[in-house]
């Protein structure tokens, strides 16, 4: 049986991996696959900045449909009707899987929320070099607790307290001074080993991507962590910004090295130790198909449509330019 | 009571208590020889009746399997039921200990009196009834247990012997009683000599004929008054059959035996009286066996017993 499904040919562009990056790439894929016409104000926008943020940066003289335009930049011909030149399929697992699958050429793009170097600590430099890193957004990783804990006064923890909880030194909420509820064991919720969120948390909070942790339960995806924390009355968890919901899973403030970081205030700061980059990795260079999609993510339009609404931080323009320089030449 | 009576075939006979309804029976289309007049239902056996059946009808759903049969089965004798296949012999037999209750579609009407009690009356205790009216089936069906356990199964379950762990612990062990019951029953069933040395072997290891005698012994062990047998020898070879036949004749000294058979020679050999059923669940003739085989009243019975059909 044949060897298709490579980045060449008319098959779809496939991505898999991080549940942190998933909201961005999945939204982008929805737009891409719907391939709305240029005059569709709601999705693509008229020439009006107000309805289509970032539209002003786009030079679309032929009024092409959305995917036709972005794919056209890399020389892909538009198809008849609403179908995009190629479709984009985004799977959902976690960063380790994305990195594994992109290297096995099972997908074109591996989404990851931690760097491949952290994710594969044993890999040689040569191996790492085969990955091309496309940073598409930034996350300020929040720490969340169950609503009951928040209501019992835990709105802020210090870095040492969080470390204490995740190394098994603190096991009861009553050991936290601000806590004024009944005696309650702490349910330390973690993400699956191999998820970027977990790796980044260990690296940034515990100081080593392979640091030992003591968690009570590990869930596969950010969404499951969210559900678990919401359904419990004693949980703490680390996750990605997109999944915070102040009513069900409130994010607490963190005091690290004397600075207090609070959601909505300074989590986006580069100094926030738990801030991390969100990556779309390609393997052994970046094909034009991959480039066409990633280019859209890196555009002002993409950042405003796919990154910002999911509560992630947009890349500043100069960083975007730097990332775009890793893409192959555009043909038009 | 049904308005079809046993006497449909015997228009002229007057002794029947439902003669006032005779006009009805003319409408029933029965292939029968109406010229024949006999009075066999008047027939009075010398012994007392152990079982009295009156106006018995059995239906399977809408199927009328037994058609208003009345008969008296005398004590301590062998009564044979013969007739072609499907005529309702087994059904009739199963009425006598209410084994038909196990067939959901079966419906029984009429009365069957065992020792003067109607067993189809409200609160008959089936357990007691079946202890009194034992049954032996067409193909031997010993339990997959030892020979001893097969025989003592009934007494054990009825609580007559107590040989469990508890009994032993309390020093209240009926092992001796059990031994006696087993020996006596097996002796009555003419099996003791053959199996006395291996009472603890699995009963399924016995030959077909031995198994059938074991089933008889099992039935005797609960000390019934009546023993029903449904073609007890039809699955057996000639030698085993001969043994069973001898046994049946012996049993009649103590028990009331009712035997279904499709083998007319067998009926002739072993029974004291014979009832001939014909298709449709009708009892056509019932009389002393000699009479039935040598000089039956009905032509159809004559045809049947001489092998002109069936």
């Amino acid at each position: 049986l044949g060897s298709t499904g490579e980045s060449s040919g008319s098959g779809p562009l496939t991505a898999d991996g991080s549940s942190t990056v998933y909201p961005i790439t999945s939204d982008a894929a929805s737009y891409w696959n719907s391939n709305h016409p240029a005059d569709d104000g709601e999705y693509w926008g008229s020439n009006d900045e107000g309805t289509a943020p970032g539209y002003g940066q786009i030079d679309n003289p032929d009024n092409k449909n959305l995917a036709d335009y972005w794919a056209g930049l890399y020389g892909f011909e538009a198809k008849d009707g609403a179908a995009p030149p190629f479709s984009v399929n985004v799977g959902l697992s976690h960063s380790g899987t994305g990195i594994e699958k992109v290297a096995n050429e099972q997908v074109d793009i591996g989404d990851a929320s931690s760097s491949v170097a952290d994710e594969l600590p044993d890999a040689s430099q040569g191996e790492l070099d085969k990955y091309t890193d496309h940073v598409v957004a930034r996350d300020g990783q929040p720490v969340v607790v169950s609503r009951e804990i928040w209501d019992a006064g835990v709105e802020k923890l210090t870095g040492d307290q969080v470390r204490g909880i995740y190394t098994g030194e603190i096991t009861n909420w009553s050991e936290i001074s601000s806590y004024n509820g009944p005696d309650k064991e702490i349910q330390a919720v973690g993400r699956a080993v191999g998820s970027g969120t977990d790796t980044a948390f260990r690296a940034n909070m515990l100081g080593d991507p392979e640091a030992e942790m003591s968690v009570d339960i590990r869930k596969g995806q950010n969404q499951q962590v969210q559900t678990t924390v919401a359904d419990s009355d004693n949980a703490i968890a680390y996750m990605a910004l997109a999944f915070v919901d102040m009513d069900r899973v409130p994010a607490i403030s963190l005091e690290l090295d004397g600075t207090t970081y609070t959601l909505g205030e300074n989590l986006g700061s580069k100094d926030y130790p738990l801030s991390r980059e969100l990556h779309c990795y390609t393997y052994e260079g970046t094909s034009e198909k991959e480039a066409a999609f990633i280019n859209m993510l890196l555009s002002e339009f993409g950042q405003r449509h796919f990154v910002q609404p999911n509560n992630y931080f947009m890349l500043p323009p100069e960083e975007r330019e730097e990332q775009r320089s890793k893409l192959p030449e555009q043909s038009n | 009571m049904s308005d079809q009576t046993v006497t449909q075939t015997n228009e002229e006979q007057q002794s029947n208590d439902s003669t006032e309804q005779r006009s009805n029976s003319l409408t029933v289309d029965v292939e029968t020889d109406e010229r024949l007049v006999d009075s066999w239902t008047d027939y009075e056996f010398e012994d007392e009746a152990a079982i009295t059946v009156e106006d018995l009808d059995v239906y399977y759903g809408d199927d009328h399997a037994i058609d208003s049969i009345s008969m008296e089965i005398p004590e301590r004798s062998v009564t044979a039921l013969i007739g072609p296949s499907g005529c309702g012999k087994s059904t009739f037999l199963r009425c006598l200990n209410r084994m038909n209750d196990r067939i959901d579609s079966a419906r029984v009407e009429g009365t069957v009196e065992v020792d003067g009690e109607n067993i189809y009356e409200g609160d008959t205790d089936l357990v007691q009834l079946r202890k009194r009216v034992g049954m032996v089936f067409q193909s031997p069906n010993p339990f997959p247990k030892s020979i001893r356990e097969n025989v003592s199964y009934g007494p054990r379950k009825h609580g007559d012997v107590n040989v469990g762990l508890l009994g032993r612990l309390l020093g209240n062990d009926d092992r001796e009683v059990e031994r006696e019951i087993v020996e006596r029953s097996l002796e009555q069933a003419a099996l003791w000599d053959e199996v006395s040395g291996r009472l603890d072997d699995n009963a399924l290891g016995l030959s077909g004929g031995q198994q059938q005698r074991l089933c008889i012994a099992r039935c005797l062990a609960v000390d019934p008054d009546v023993i029903l047998m449904d073609e007890p020898a039809s699955a057996l070879d000639p030698v085993a059959t001969a043994k069973i036949e001898d046994l049946i004749e012996q049993l009649a000294e103590e028990y009331t035996v009712v035997v279904v058979t499709h083998n007319m020679q067998q009926a002739a050999r072993i029974s004291d009286q014979t009832a001939v059923f014909l298709t449709g669940g009708q009892l056509v003739e019932y009389d002393d066996t000699d009479k039935i085989f040598e000089n039956p009243e009905s032509d159809r019975v004559e045809d049947y017993v001489t092998g002109k059909f069936g």
Partner: protein
Amino acid sequence: MSEQTATRTAAPAVDLFDRIALGVVGLSIVTFLLGWTTLFERTGTDTAVAGLSLFTLFGAVFLLAGIGLLVSGIASYVGAFETTADRYTGIGTGLGLGIVGFAVGGLATTILFGVGATGSVLVGLVVGLVVTSGVAVLPEDLGTTFPVGLLGLAWGGLLVTGAVDAGWFWNPPSLDATFHAPIVVPLATIALSLLIAWSGAIVAEGFGSQGRQNGAYLLIGLNAFGMIAVLLLLILFVVQKGLPKLLEGAQFGPGLGISVPFLTKGVMLGQQYNGIFPAIVGTIWLVIGAVLLAVPIGIGAAVFLTEYAEQGRFTAIIETTTNALWSTPSIVYGLFGYAFLVPRFGNSNSLLAGMFVLGFMLLPLVVITSRESIKSVPDEYRDASAALGVNQWQTIRSVVLPAAMPGVVTGVILGVGRIAGETAPILLVTSGQPFPARAPSILGSFRFVATPPFVQNEALLQASSALPYQLYAVITAGVGQEEAFGWGTALVLLLVVLGFYAIGIASRIYFRRKLHQ
């Protein structure tokens, strides 16, 4: 001994005695049902009946029932009423009640005195042994009523006096769980109601073998009732939760045609109602592929093993392995597919890989059921055909296989029902996008090319969704906002799978009837 066999016939039980027993049984069935509704939070613990709180009410009932049992036990023992009670209760009943004694004794010890696990197990063992031996040698009328009656009195007393009330809880030192009254009381009530009902049923028939039968039947009947009720509730629950989503935006009626967007649409931008059409199509293709793979091979193998091969070691080995593989967990097949098949099928998750994995899973079942039904084709058919001078293959083709077909078809349908609901292998080898917009278009994707393998079908080599995976995706990708979508999917999945089962079972019943007509 044989003269003893004429035992006391069941005396027409006296009215009063009967009424007590039936009252005990009736009351305990009520508490049994109330226990369940309380456990399922349908009856609040604050429900009050005639001024009594629910738990007090339970207590009162247990006190009444306990007294009833004790009274009737004694009445029978002293001969006030004629019953058929046995000399001894017997070891079986003794053991059963002994186990209850073990549990009650052990739990009481640790709850009341805070004794650790080992200590309370020891106490429990002692209590259990005492109960077992005591009950076993008691006369039956006492042995079956006293322990249960006393237990009823004790538990009733605790509830009535308020020693155990709605706020009661027990936190076992070694376990993470805390047992609160709202869960403990209904559970204990259910268990005790069963015991009391059992005992009451025995009394009602005047003990003896009839009594034991009555008791056993009541327990078994209640159990069967409970089991079926729970399973049906489960389905009703899914239906109730899923139906609104399934019918969202649905239109039917005169002039409107029928449109159910949930079943005919994917998940797309700018669409009012999203649906699971791609998953339905994915499941259909997976099933078709698996059946095309497994059925010919399976039936072929079954024919060879049953008709041609000599029954011996070879057939025995195949039989053993097929049986073993049929019970092999699906995740193991999935792992095999992930590591072995996926790299060979275009190196990405694909429908084709899913078809193969599910086909492999189905294969043993097809072999087993086909063998069974081919074996059950009466030899008379084969003999009749052979006696007409027809060769073996012709006989198999014209007589054996047609006669075996009903069995094979039924087996395959049931197997399809099972694989259609399998999630694990799909997750590993077929899944891609969790909420796809479009269904795979298999028929439209066949291409003939000049290079090997000459035929290509891209859609077959691409990832797809399937109903069970869609449900899994809802769980992983956010139950929070999409829970309704999940219930809708669960309902459709249930309908599809149970549909296969229902058809399979109905066809089996139909063919059986036809055979026995």
